[in-house]
Symmetry: C2
Subunit: 257 residues, 2 copies
Amino acid sequence: MELASTLSLEMFGKPFLLEKRIRLLHAIEVHGSISKAAKAVPMSYKSAWEAVDAMNTLSPEPIVHRETGGREGGGTVLTAYGKRLLKHYALLEEEHSRFIARLASLVEGEEGTFGTIGRLGLQLSARNQIQAVVTQVQQEGINAAVALRLKSTQQLLSHITAEAVEDLQIETGSSVVAVCKSSNVFVIHPDEAEPVNLLEGVITMLEEDTKHIKLTVDIGGHDTIVSVVPLSIYSTTLQTGDKVRLGIKPRDIMIGR
Amino acid sequence: MELASTLSLEMFGKPFLLEKRIRLLHAIEVHGSISKAAKAVPMSYKSAWEAVDAMNTLSPEPIVHRETGGREGGGTVLTAYGKRLLKHYALLEEEHSRFIARLASLVEGEEGTFGTIGRLGLQLSARNQIQAVVTQVQQEGINAAVALRLKSTQQLLSHITAEAVEDLQIETGSSVVAVCKSSNVFVIHPDEAEPVNLLEGVITMLEEDTKHIKLTVDIGGHDTIVSVVPLSIYSTTLQTGDKVRLGIKPRDIMIGR
DNA sequence: AACCCCTGTATACCTGATTACATAACGCAA
DNA sequence: TTGCGTTATGTAATCAGGTATACAGGGGTT
C-alpha cells in the first residue's frame, strides 16, 4: 500500500502551479522557447502556450518574457521573478515530499491497520534548529551518544535514547537537525574550563530584560544560536560584536530529521 | 495564493482510497446501501458500484459486505475492517491537512517570494510528546510561562521564549504538544519537596543497563512518559506497578503544534 | 524581398472518465 | 405469484482535457 500526494498552488481558486507546469517552466528555462519546451515535457504546443499565458496573467508579475519575430523567430525566457518562483516551489515541494515519505513509512507493512501515528511533523518552540551531519553513533545500553558536525565544522555531542536512534534511523552520515531550547544554551566564562559541547561565535544581537539576557550568536556556516541566560556579572559586560563561547549539555540536545 | 494538496492511497499502483471514495464509504456507513450513498455523495450508481468493487478486490480483506434481494432488496454495510480503514485514513488525512495548513502559512502574504522555510515538520528523537491544552500564557519580557493541562487533567508549566509564543501563536485554549527529552524527566523521592512540575503515575515498564534505568510511566489519560535516570539507591528499588512521582523542569519542556 | 522560426489563434479530433438509461437477477414478504 | 428495492451489468450519450493540425503575424537576417 503506497501513498500518493500532489502539491499545487492556486491563485484565485484557479490552479496556478501544478507539477506539470513546473516541468514546463524548467524546460523553458533550458530551451528558451515554448515550442521546444512543449516537445521536451512532452505536451502539445497549444496547451503549453495556454498554461504559460494563464500563469502570466494570474501572477502579479510576469513569470516569462515572450518575444515574437527576429532572427530565431523569437523566444521565451523566464523573468527573474519566474526563476525565483521556481526556486521557492522546489523548497515547498521538498518539504512536502519529505512529509509524505514520513507519512508513508507509517502505512507500509501493516495491512489496513496503520501503526499508531505519533504526532509527526511538529512545529517547535525551540529557537535553535541547526542542520548537522552525524559523524558517529555510539550505543551504550539505554542511551546513545551521537556526534554531529555542523556546517561550520564545529562539533556537537548529543545524548538520546537508543530507541530514538532506531526510530529515526540515525546512522553515520545521516543528515539531521540538532534541536535545543535557547534556555539550555549557556555562556561560558573565558576562565572556565571547556565543557563537552563548546561553540564559538560572535554576538550579533543582544536583548535584555530585568532578569534575563538574550544573545543571538553567529557560529559560522550561516548558523545562528540563540541563548537566554540569567543576568550575571559576566553576562552584563557582553556587547554586540564580542566573541563568546557557548555551552550546551549533550542531554539537552535532541535530534530531529 | 492558496495551497492545495490531495492525499490518496494506492494498492498495486492502482488508486485505492481517494478523497471521493472515502466520502462514498462514509455515506454507505450512514445509508446502508450503495444506491442511496451514491445519491448522497453525489455520483452515479454505476461509478459508485465500480469504486466499491475495485476497493473490495484490491483490499486483502473485504471493506464492505453486499447483499442482494430480500425484503428491502438487499443492502451494503461496512465490515469491521472497513470501518477501521476509514478511521485510519482520517488520522492520516488530519496529519496531512495540518501539514498543508502549516506550509500554506508560509506562502500566504508574500507575493511569489515565500518566507524562508525553517525546516518545518521535524520528526523528533524526544520520547515524550504529550497532547495538552494551554490554560494560561504569561509574558515576562524575553521569556514566557505557558501553563498546560494534560488529558489526565494534570498540570505542566513550560518556560519558552516570548518570541516562540508569537511564532506558534500560542494562546489560552490552543491545543499543543508538550515535548521533552526522557533524560530530563527525573524521579522524585517520596520524601522530597514537590517541585513545580509534578506528575504522578504508575510504572508500566522498567529497563536497566549498567548506568541508567528507563521507566515507562502511565500518567493517566492514555498518556505515558518515559524517563531515563541514573542508577541510584532509590531508583533501583522501583518495580513495575509502583506509583512514582516524576518531575520536569519548566525550562526543559518545549512546545510544539 | 525572400527566408526562417518562433508566437499567437482557431478548429476539428481523440480519448478517458463520467453519467444517463436500460435491464437482469435476487430473495424476502404479502 | 407478484411486488419491491437493491445489487449487478451493459450500452450509448455526454463532457472535459489534451492533441493534431493548420495558418496568420512578427521581425531580424540574408
